[in-house]
Amino acid sequence: MQASKPSVAAGGGGRATFALHAVAALACLCALNWLVATKVPLHIQMLETSYLIFFYHFPSAILCTVFFTINAVFSVFYLATQKPSYDLHARVFAEIGLVACCIALATGSVWARMAWGEWWSFGDPRLLWVAIMCLSYAAYVVLQQFMEPGERRMRYAAVFAVAAAINVPLVKYAIQFFGENQHPMEMTSSDSSLKGTQWFGAFAFLLFYLLVYRWRIAKEKVRASIESSLSAARRIEEGRLA
């Protein structure tokens, strides 16, 4: 009986659902572009059209904190049960969270240039806190690069993830703690259609990031399968030589 061949594109549920997922994510991102281009009024802000980047900045900013929180939950599960699958999910959520955080910082920086006239402002506590959170999770990824794959790496990564997660809620409360706010708090609260576009954007980006998540999980499973085959072959070879 032949073992089923792992597929990079398949993720957890086969090629067909992966393709469907990809099409849905692409369609939602196109729909978001259309909404931003045609349905969002340009006269509500003093910043002319620069605030339109908000509909791309907000989804990544909110989703990165969600992904980091999920990373912490999986890390706690790993420490409690020592199941390697929890480590894999924690690692991939941290990676896509880091990508989302970088996108949020990059779009925020472009917007800051248009709105405040500078690429970066150290006077804004939330911006600073998001950058620090980004560095913490970059350190999480670096920790895994420094170590050989194995149980110890999983355990240390989970320990660090729990320690780093304590910073995540502070992103929300940074402005309350340290004031000096330049950051827009309730950008679209006055207009329900804008709020709808804002949350549709979050949904579209969520589909996109989950697509990346499925692809990474599938890739890691292929790698694990190759590594286990190689180690089995090595054991057989060693047994034959002995």
């Binding site: 913490s136 355990r155 320690a163």
Partner: protein
């Protein structure tokens, strides 16, 4: 006739192990003095370099002084934390302790106490040198006591976070660099609170309660997080 075995006394064994480990670390440091001396020398060099890095007129500003003091203390304290688990004698003792029936938690608290002693002594020496070099004057006894309180409580936060991370990076190739990469971003809330509180002491103003809350919350949260996580960090000790 069978002799009854003595009942285990976990509370007593916790304190015995704690005292023995702190004493061992302290005696070792008093003999060598390498950790405190290297931290203080590094701090002096950093204080001088930072004084050259900025406009001399800006050194009169409380914000700049507070920032310079904390950058120096933070970088110097990473040396002491890194050395908490590094070195041949540390590895041998760690191996012996972890083979003995000593709880990981008492080991964690002993390491935190010993490391806090060195880093705290270094911080107080650096504070005195800083006040002399940067002409900090006009602080009365109560303000100076507040400044010492802010420094010691912040250093405690640095140590409770740093000790588990130091234990993690002790046997990783390039662990010295990795420790700083892991530790410094997580210290940001504490650093921010400490800089604000110190700046307010330099200005002769009352310390903002939010800054103090940030420092105290960080200390308590990471102390208990460290106590919970140290079991996992030391689960498979490899000297």
């Amino acid at each position: 006739m069978t002799v009854p075995l003595p009942s285990p006394q976990p509370q007593r064994s916790f304190w015995n192990a704690y005292r023995a480990l702190v004493r061992w670390d302290w005696v070792r440091e008093m003999k060598r003095k390498d950790t405190v001396v290297s931290m203080v020398l590094f701090s002096l060099v950093t204080l001088m370099i930072l004084a050259f890095a900025v406009d001399p007129r800006s050194l009169l500003s409380e914000e700049v002084r507070s920032g310079i003091l904390w950058v120096t203390l933070l970088l110097a304290s990473t040396i002491g934390i890194d050395r908490a688990f590094r070195g041949d004698d540390q590895a041998a003792v760690l191996e012996g302790v972890l083979l003995a029936p000593v709880g990981r938690v008492s080991f964690y608290y002993a390491k935190v106490t010993a490391t806090y002693l060195y880093v705290g002594i270094m911080a107080l020496i650096v504070l005195l040198v800083f006040c002399w070099l940067y002409n900090v004057s006009g602080l009365d006894a109560s303000q100076f006591a507040k400044l010492v309180g802010v420094i010691l409580s912040t250093v405690f936060g640095v140590v409770v976070l740093g000790v588990p991370l130091s234990a993690m990076t002790r046997s990783i190739h390039g662990g010295e660099v990795l420790l700083r990469i892991l530790m410094l971003p997580l210290l940001f809330p504490l650093f921010r609170g400490a800089v604000l509180a110190t700046e307010q002491v330099f200005r002769h103003e009352p310390i903002d309660s939010q800054a103090l809350f940030m420092i105290a919350a960080f200390d308590v949260i990471y102390l208990f997080a460290g106590q919970l996580l140290i079991e996992h960090v030391l689960a498979d000790f490899e000297g």
